[in-house]
Symmetry: C2
């Protein structure tokens, strides 16, 4: 791209947030476009990078609405994320949670005190009728995030996993039961009511590159693509679409992607992920460890770029992001 702007990243949690951060660094400090948002008549900046974030793992805890993936992207792009875990706020402690425990509340999802402020304010604003996108935009602006952080939709959607132990809510499976159940199927409750917002539509339509971040294809990218109209919109967009493999050397960099590929009948490999995205993407970025998959992936009609696909630090994020953007430009 001549001007490295108007990039859309589809992201889930930690892996997605890290590549999104790399893209932000790679795109540099392009001035935002100032515009009047017809929805609220407030001038709001439009940044070169738009992150469309999974919200199907959002849930309620202690009466608070929690959006784990949006918040991970928010904190990561704001430079606040805990570098060890990838989620939560660096240095955060959990005194409120400790007190909740004293009150006998069931404690299974770690919530730092600073992080709690995010959930309190989101819950208050949602109850007051703000759309989630407005809540996240206000958070991003307050924390100085130089990107458009858009939830995949405004409507509540819930990932439900069919397992041998019955159907489980996502955080139940992911956090409480530590991903120990075998996932046999995934469905997104409420997805029929979800709509692609004007802001998401504009970003995708005008994008010069659409990046599928290295997030779980079933429970992070899957819900984004399942929003009615989203898949067609992405297919129809003129921008090149490039995915980055979340599987490296037959294992997920983080999370249960590998186990889910296996239990749902896919090959546990970069190739296995590519089969899920066939027809959607033109380019796939895989790790050197998976170079042997390249020919089979290209046979799916997907060009392959082989590099070091593991982001070990901030430099690695920006390096991978630059490679991804250059690869997209060539497509």
């Amino acid at each position: 791209m001549e001007r490295r702007d108007r990039v859309v990243a589809l992201a889930g949690g930690v892996g997605g947030a890290r590549l999104a951060h790399g893209l932000l660094l790679a795109l540099g400090d392009e001035s935002p476009y100032e515009r009047i948002d017809p929805a609220d008549a407030q001038p709001s900046p439009i940044y070169p990078l738009t992150v469309v974030c999974n919200t199907a793992d959002d849930f309620d805890l202690y009466g608070l609405r929690i959006s784990p993936d949006c918040d991970t992207v928010l904190y990561t792009l704001a430079g606040l994320a805990n570098p060890e875990t990838g989620w939560g706020i660096a240095g955060d402690i959990a005194n409120a949670l400790d007190m909740l425990r004293r009150y006998g509340a069931e404690i299974w999802f770690w919530l730092g005190d600073r992080d709690l402020a995010t959930h309190i304010l989101r819950t208050e604003r949602l109850r007051a009728g703000w759309p989630l996108s407005a809540v996240m935009r206000a958070f991003g602006q307050a924390l100085g995030v130089q990107a458009n952080l858009l939830p995949m939709c405004e409507e509540p959607v819930a990932t439900l996993l069919r397992t041998s132990e019955g159907e489980l809510a996502f955080q139940e499976y992911f956090v409480r039961r530590r991903q120990n159940d075998t996932v046999l199927g995934v469905r997104f409750e409420g997805i029929e009511q979800a709509r692609v917002s004007g802001a998401v539509r504009d970003a995708i339509t005008q994008a010069q590159a659409i990046i599928f971040c290295p997030s779980n294809p079933f429970v992070s990218i899957g819900p984004v693509l399942a929003v009615p109209g989203m898949r067609d919109l992405i297919v129809a967009a003129s921008a090149p679409k490039v995915a980055v493999s979340p599987i490296v050397g037959g294992a997920a960099i983080k999370g249960p992607a590998a186990a889910m590929l296996a239990s749902m009948g896919y090959e546990v490999s970069a190739y296995g992920v590519a089969t899920l995205y066939a027809g959607l993407i033109q380019g796939f970025v895989i790790d050197r460890a998976d170079a042997a998959d390249a020919a089979r992936i290209e046979a799916l009609g997907i060009r392959v770029f082989v590099t070091d696909a593991v982001m070990r630090d901030q430099v690695g994020r920006e390096r991978l992001a630059r490679e991804v953007l250059r690869f997209a430009e060539e497509l």
Copy 2:
């Protein structure tokens, strides 16, 4: 009293909580009565001490329901209260509030992170349909409080102050504007809908002593007495009723009681407070500094006990409570 049990204390915030704590210490570790609560069919202990707590300064902040006086009593009786301020939890810090500030939220009411857990859980439970008394009972049980902590009513009531600057909500006047406005009148919004609960009725009816704690007579004890039926119930109760003066040497030990007495046309003295309670109490405990008021107070038909009415520490609380109970016993 032969058995020092079945004591009811009417309390507001810090001063009330401190005397209530003294009463708890003075009553010692009487075994609670076990009983089946007909409302929820849960066995719940009934302790010798019942604190009926002002809830008219309860309010909503960041979407959370805050009950400042109930919580001050809760924390004080649990031994958790900040000894410096009298309110909040000892050692609590405010990381969540700091983050709320970063998000641009208006910060005018200090909320520690541990304290926040109380508000989060209360809000969740109230929204789920729990009565406030059930919320506070669960908190008290979880924190090992050996007293029945009862809100004055279940219904939301709001203290509104008529001032030269117009009508102000209580916390607006008390915290945000630092009690700088001249209070010309007080009303309790919603009080017409409030009801004396069965638990409060039982406690008052069966009490062997009813103690008006040294709390603000207008905005702490006032709302409790304003619950429809409460005043008559107290008057009709067979127990001796004793108040402890919140005014010592012409000044309030804490808070705006002295300023309110003056601006609402009362004498700023222990006598001034006694005139407000005339017809309700048989005994009034005043400080040695106010011994000269004794004759005028007795002329109101109220017996007077003169002592050191300032609670400087835990020993002072228990000492004053023992004197108050002994005085009540003699009436």
